[in-house]
Symmetry: C2
Subunit: 342 residues, 2 copies
DNA sequence: GTTAGCACTCTTTCGGGTTGAGTGCTAACA
DNA sequence: TGTTAGCACTCAACCCGAAAGAGTGCTAAC
């Protein structure tokens, strides 16, 4: 049996209707809903076929049909194709130049949540190219040195180092020159034992300080664990009865609060390194606790060598059309942000 | 009518039982629960009195009694008195020296949540004394200057400034000396128009840069808006049926996610500036959406001039005893942290 | 002052009847 | 051969009333 033209129309009508109402949809509804001018009986026959093909399921004998994961997948694929052709119209909301990156990302998450009525997430951009742009040691007081490390993309990291005795100006200058000479423009991979040994040797008695600085650099570069994730609209899940029973809601809220789980999405999206919008439907989700949800994600590029992720999480009967549109808009906002901002 | 010894015992028995079960408690239960050896009929008489006194209420005619806000208040006050005398035993969990403050605070929030099964929050310490400890401008590249501002308590803030043309070393040095000479040890209140004018005048053509630096300083000091709040265990509210109906849960989760609302608690706790543990019961809560909750908060002192807040939010039938104990433990951990850490 | 007893109230629970939506199947129709 | 009307059937949802059970207030007796 094949998915012919008419079946397609009916399937889409079923899904669309279900997305709006959240109720199983019956043959009579479709009979009136579409322009096919078919009686409910005919629709029923077609629906039996669609069920056999696996696109829809019946929650119980005398209920209407609801889309299966396969059905959603079909719908999403068809829709993506459509979107492909559209030219995205950028909105100006985000362009009110936000002073700070994290404010901006929070706002992006919130904007998406308000727009779509789903839960959303935005990760801060992480650098996947890691070159050191600038290093600076400054004497803060008698026994503390402030080390400032700037990575390509203006990620700035401060570390306070303890020192036994006060260092004089000349030494500070010497150390700064030493560090910048050897480390400027150097990537994480290039900092090897040889380079470290050279630095330490040249620093003489200040070798331990150099070692501490390098530790800080390493930490700055691989700051995987304290990756910032901004979320918004987690409470939207209460708008969808199928998600708001106690256990499910608790699990979801927990995922959103702990954020640890959400990193699985990032790993997944990084893996392919693709620039595409991804849609996970139900069981496809990489996160166990979100088997009843659908997740739409995309990566954004933030300047040279920086990449972040945005995602929307909602019920399977998600308004995919709108969600993908929203994701695209925000993505291109963030993509262009860096250029304009710099 | 007075609250005599026996009434007190009965009231406490009622509250204690209600805290455990979450169900209205009847006279017969109390009759068996306590050592008073009174029949249920007698208890009923006393309960009628307690109701008249306002300590307990009946949800409906033929139900048992539940504590009123006044009843909880009585219970809490009695308990605080008890705790007052106890010597707090510090736990070592937090003392595994955490590298970073925010990790530590997150862990503190989580620890409390796991311990108590309620929702918890911890704010990062904010400086209420604001003196500048150190200022540093560095040339990052041709057209950007990095300004690092360190506030008492080692709050560090970076800002990147745009400059039209490259500044030479001598100018940089001059600006740094100028800034540090005038601003070191200076508090926010002392940076007035006169001082700013002096600085600008001495900076000559670099006045605009000085202005930007001062803006950044101002922003660092009054960083009210991006106050970090760490929360944990928001999903615990699902453990208490009286909080987990859709509307309430949604509101609560929202408060925890937006965090904006939580700042009201901080304002409140700052107001008195006290060092006490505060308990808000039901309607006493400064947050509208938490009228069905109880909130326990405390401030902690983090080194000189820094203060943060910890709080636990749960149902009114909260295990106050445990919560206050937990808060005290964490509070003293954080209080002593700075000293040991420095 | 305490208690036993009883009538009363009110919520909760459970079963059963009803309703209504929706199906599958069959037979008739174009 | 595809479409449709009709009908019997299924099943969740809803309402209703009865019964159970928890708990109270009151009164009379101890």
């Amino acid at each position: 049996m094949e998915l012919d033209e008419r079946k397609t129309v009916i399937l889409q009508a079923i899904i669309k209707n279900y997305l709006e109402t959240g109720e199983p949809v019956g043959s009579r509804t479709i009979s009136k809903y579409t322009d096919l001018n078919l009686s409910s009986a005919t629709i029923r026959n077609e629906m039996a076929d669609l069920e056999e093909l696996g696109y829809i399921v019946q929650p119980h004998t005398s209920a209407g049909r609801i889309p299966s994961d396969k059905g959603y997948r079909f719908y999403v694929d068809a829709m993506m194709l459509k979107h492909e052709k559209e030219v995205e119209q950028l909105k100006d909301v985000l362009l009110e130049k936000e002073e700070k990156l994290d404010h901006m990302l929070k706002q992006a998450a919130k904007l998406m949540a308000v727009n779509t009525n789903y839960a959303t997430m935005v990760t801060a951009p992480r650098n996947y190219k890691n070159t050191i742009k600038f290093l600076q040691l400054s004497r803060m007081d008698e026994s503390h040195i402030l080390a400032v490390i700037v990575i390509e993309g203006n990620i700035i990291k401060n570390t306070v180092l303890d020192v036994a005795e006060k260092l004089d100006d000349e030494t500070m200058l010497k150390l700064n020159i030493l560090l910048n000479t050897h480390l400027n423009g150097v990537s994480a991979e290039e900092i090897n034992l040889g380079l470290i040994a050279t630095l330490k040797q040249q620093a003489g008695m200040y070798g331990p300080i150099i070692a501490e600085v390098i530790d800080a650099v390493a930490e700055t570069i691989k700051e995987d664990e304290d990756l910032e994730i901004y979320t918004s609209g987690a409470n939207n899940i209460f708008k969808y009865p199928e998600l708001s029973d106690n256990q499910k809601a608790s699990d979801l809220i927990n995922a959103f609060e702990e954020k640890q789980l959400l990193t699985q999405l990032i790993d997944e999206s990084d893996e392919e390194g693709s620039n595409e919008i991804k849609v996970y439907i139900g069981e496809e989700s990489p996160i166990q606790t979100m088997k009843d949800c659908s997740i739409v994600t995309a990566n954004y590029e933030f300047g040279d060598g920086m990449r972040g992720m945005i995602g929307i999480i909602g019920p399977k009967r998600m308004d995919y059309d709108k969600v993908v549109g929203t994701i695209k808009t925000i993505k291109s906002q963030l993509d262009t942000m860096y250029k304009k901002d710099n």
